[in-house]
């Protein structure tokens, strides 16, 4: 075959494991050989990594040129049975058609993902582009396999509980004696911030043996976007199914985005936005305090980036104001707890005299130490509220 000027085929025979051509680019082969010779490599030299018995290397040992150190590098290239390569155009056709048909089969799933994105121009453009796909998918009934698969996996809409059912359940008593036999049932709930904070609280609380905690967090969720995740409904369901005595809540990290309300997009931070958000917080509080339950609404800690920090501060004020209006809700401020002595954001805070990393590199989330710091603060509030000592053992008043 004449040399057609191409490297990965054409005039060159592709690597097929024959000794005269390792298939390695010449630079590597020469480099390896020179390296081996320069350092006086002996058999034992690279015992550490020499392909051992049973290793399924893509390049057979026989493929290495004389003088090369065996197993010096993983093979760059290797194919089993020789086969014809495809043309770039055919591969493009396969990809375009493959992606398009996959898109039709999964149009609704893709639409769900796009709908979960923050409200804005890009989301609208993506949804507009998807519209013909979802329509075509429906017309051709290509959405059926996905529906069948989801039904098979039990992913269909499960029946929800109503707020009336929460009331009908046995009322939790507060205050009541907390004992090992009758621990406090604590439901911890929130967004990605609650992932570390919640598990810290779960660990610290369970260590007291007086609390049975359940953590539930959903990344990227909050109260701004019930179309993405309907937290109020979820809270009702959990109150019926888990029947907690108290709930610790941490929302807000994803809520600094526009809210869709009655067909309008309310700009984050605007007066209308604040009113709607306040109503949603109030509703969540009313749900969670149903039947006399206790709620510990945890404010977000100080954040690094100025704009984001301002939005979080605005939401913290809303939580605090709403908590004051709802009996049974205690607002736990963590802003200053996670700030340095000057009141500014700091990755490292002093813990026992030593600087300890408290925040994740994104300037938002917490490290385990940060989660523990916040959780201990919240646990102290809970223990005080239920009359258990700070040490975790029941206070004399609480022991029956």
């Amino acid at each position: 075959m004449p040399d057609d000027g191409y490297e990965n085929g054409g005039g060159r025979r592709p690597f097929d494991g024959r000794p005269e051509d390792t298939g390695h680019p010449p630079g590597l082969r020469d480099a390896t050989r020179r390296f081996a010779a320069a350092d006086g490599v002996d058999d034992e030299w690279d015992e550490w990594l020499e392909p051992g018995e049973g290793a399924q290397s893509r390049a057979p040992r026989a493929a290495r040129g004389p003088g090369e150190s065996g197993g010096s590098r993983p093979p760059v290239q290797g194919k089993g049975p020789r086969r014809r390569g495809a043309s770039a155009g055919a591969v493009l056709a396969a990809m375009l058609i493959g992606f398009f048909v996959a898109g039709l089969l999964d149009a609704k799933g893709i639409e769900t993902d796009v709908k979960a994105k923050p409200l804005g121009t890009w989301r609208s453009i993506e949804l507009a582009l998807l519209k013909p796909m979802t329509t075509l998918s429906g017309v051709l009934r290509l959405d059926r396999p996905a529906e069948a698969l989801n039904a098979m996996l039990g992913r269909g809409e499960s029946p929800h509980h109503s707020l009336a059912e929460v009331k009908n359940k046995a009322k939790p008593k507060w205050p009541r004696a907390i004992t090992r036999a009758h621990p406090l049932r604590l439901y911890i709930v929130g967004d990605s911030m609650a992932q570390v904070f919640g598990s810290s609280l779960e660990n610290l609380a369970e260590d007291t043996h007086l609390v049975k905690a359940k953590l539930e967090y959903k990344i990227s969720s909050g109260l701004s976007r019930p179309d993405y995740f309907d937290w109020p409904q979820r809270l009702i369901d959990q109150l019926v199914e888990y029947a907690p005595d108290a709930t610790a809540v941490l929302f807000g990290a994803n809520d600094g985005q526009n809210i869709s309300y009655k067909g309008k997009a309310l700009e984050v931070g605007s007066k209308a936005w604040q009113e709607v958000y306040q109503k949603r917080v109030g509703r969540a509080m009313r749900i969670l305090t149903r039947g006399g339950r206790r709620v510990y609404w945890v404010g977000n800690p100080i954040m690094r980036d100025a704009g984001y920090r301002d939005r979080i501060a605005m939401m913290d004020h809303i939580y605090e104001a709403e908590a004051a209006k709802h009996p049974g809700v205690t607002y736990v401020n963590t802003w200053h707890l996670m700030a340095n002595e000057k009141g500014s954001y700091a990755e490292y805070l002093s813990a026992g005299g030593d600087p300890v990393l408290m925040r994740a590199p994104d300037g938002i989330h917490l490290t385990r130490a940060g989660g523990d710091r916040m959780a201990q603060n919240v646990l102290d509030v809970i223990e005080k509220d239920w009359g258990t000592a700070a040490t975790g053992s029941p206070s004399p008043a609480a022991v029956p």
């Binding site: 015992e47 049973g54 760059v76 495809a86 043309s87 055919a90």
Partner: protein, 479 residues
């Protein structure tokens, strides 16, 4: 930008078309790949692109200066000085981004215990994604030039090598010597290895989305975050599930990177070879993150003296190499402990092997039963080591391991049939014979574009529908 997203699919289609259209005009093509790679990397933060540009300019300067000095009589000293500059600048950048706070806090702890508290400023610098992979590539480039194994590449080629987007974030660590020669001639548009590429990409997506992400969400994250809430049985499965998760996550990235490169006409080195079938720790490191272990061997273990300076020194070199390998993964003592475990494990294994040889005993593993036991032992060792790798602190890792005995009693409900099935599947796929996979690749290559389109459509649909909503980042991005 991450692989399993529609954004990447659109980006890749555009790059793919431009790649083959511009391929005959190599110079223009190189600019295209550089631009595409910068967009890919800058998708996180445009500031990261600056890191790439600076790395390219600096290392090209160092590389050419070393080569120039080497070419002059008596220039060895100058070449050596330039090498020192290259190593110091690269490691210095890595140190600043990754380790400054770790060392500052550790030093502060030591000084405080001596009553000499001298708080150092702590700067939590945003870590450019995959910076250590970049530093590995840069170091291999300047060191290979110094060793005379490589000639400096033309600046444009080197910029492509620095930024090539498929391996940019999490490897494989392609060495300059194996990548740069592929840039010298256009790739053949009639020989795209679609069979292998599609097998690797679809297999990688399935491993990542269906196995790794499911296990992470449904057991691993919970067990590692709140060990107290889980029983011994759940903890045991949580540990095994993490071993499977990290394999299915990291090897998936490598597979997809290799597959994506193949579609563009380029070969990347293999990075994983059925690691949990290993019968010794040494064998494990021939199969796990191969491009890292061979990098550590060539640029750390061998310069330290390897096994040429006596038995005692060999053990020290092994342990030291792995301690540093552990530290490479992250600025934290759990990583150092993890590396130390592997280093000590390798040294002990070697000592045992030498002792057996001295007594004229054969290598163990003669019977099938013994081989099964060896594999189980290696998997158990590696899994316990992963506990340290995954934990926030050494104390947290021991707490988790303690749950294996302290959580007896109730079995708990977290170990579901899908979790068990996926853990078993994640290990079982490593026992699939290679010739079977090669056959599969050949079949996929042979069915033509229409057949490939059908396979792509069905596989992508199944992976996306069966997987959870949203794409999770790959674990190795942070390294």
């Amino acid at each position: 930008m991450i692989f399993p997203t529609i954004t990447f699919a659109v980006f890749f289609l555009v790059v793919y078309v431009a790649n083959w259209l511009l391929m005959p005009r190599l110079r223009l093509w190189k600019w295209l790949i550089i631009g595409a790679s910068y967009v890919f990397y800058g998708w996180w933060d445009w500031w990261f692109v600056l890191v790439l540009v600076v790395a390219t300019l600096l290392n090209q300067l160092v590389g050419t200066q070393i080569a120039r000095a080497r070419g002059r009589r008596g220039g060895a000293g100058v070449a050596r000085n330039w090498l020192i500059v290259g190593v110091v600048v690269n490691l210095g950048a890595l140190g600043c981004f990754k380790y400054f706070d770790f060392f500052a806090v550790s030093l502060d702890d030591v000084l405080s215990s001596l009553g000499l508290g001298a708080p150092l400023p702590l700067l939590q610098i945003v870590l450019p994604v995959g910076i250590s992979f970049l530093v590995f590539r840069m170091l291999s480039y300047v060191i290979d030039i110094y060793r005379g194994e490589l000639d400096p590449a033309p600046a444009l080629d080197f910029a492509v090598y620095t930024a090539f987007f498929p391996y940019l974030l999490a490897g494989p660590i392609a060495r300059a010597g194996e990548f740069l020669p592929q840039l010298t001639m256009p790739r053949d548009p009639h020989r795209v290895d679609a069979g292998r590429a599609f097998t690797l990409i679809l297999g990688g997506l399935a491993k990542k989305i269906l196995i790794a992400d499911y296990l992470a969400t449904n057991l691993v994250n919970g067990v590692f975050a709140s060990p107290q809430s889980y029983s011994s049985w759940e903890t045991l499965w949580g540990i095994c599930a993490y071993s499977v998760q990290i394999y299915c996550d990291f090897s998936a990235y490598s597979d997809i990177a290799i597959g994506v490169s193949l579609l563009l006409g380029f070969e990347l080195p293999e990075n994983f070879n059925a690691p949990y079938t290993a019968r010794s720790i040494q064998d494990f490191w021939r199969r796990w993150h191969i491009t890292l272990s061979s990098w550590l061997r060539d640029y750390l273990y061998i310069p330290l003296g390897g096994n040429r300076k006596g038995r005692g020194r060999t053990y020290v070199n092994l342990i030291l190499t792995f301690l540093l390998g552990g530290l490479w993964h992250g600025a934290g003592w759990p990583f150092v402990f993890w590396g130390g475990m592997h280093g000590v494990g390798l040294a002990l294994e070697r000592a045992r092997s030498e002792a057996r040889r001295a007594r004229g005993l054969p290598e163990p593993g003669a019977t099938a039963g013994a081989r099964v036991l060896q594999r189980l032992a290696v998997f158990a060792f590696v899994s316990v080591a992963w506990v340290f790798f995954r934990s926030d602190s050494i104390g947290a890792a021991f707490s988790l391991l303690w749950r294996l005995v302290a959580g007896l009693g109730s079995i708990g409900s977290a170990v579901t049939w899908p979790v068990v099935g996926l853990v078993v599947l994640g290990i079982a796929i490593q026992y699939i014979p290679r010739r079977f996979m090669e056959r599969l690749e050949a079949v996929l290559a042979g069915i033509g574009w229409a057949g490939q389109a059908a396979v792509l459509a069905i596989a992508l649909f199944l992976i996306d529908t069966l997987g959870a909503q949203g794409a999770a980042e790959f674990l190795y991005f942070k390294f």
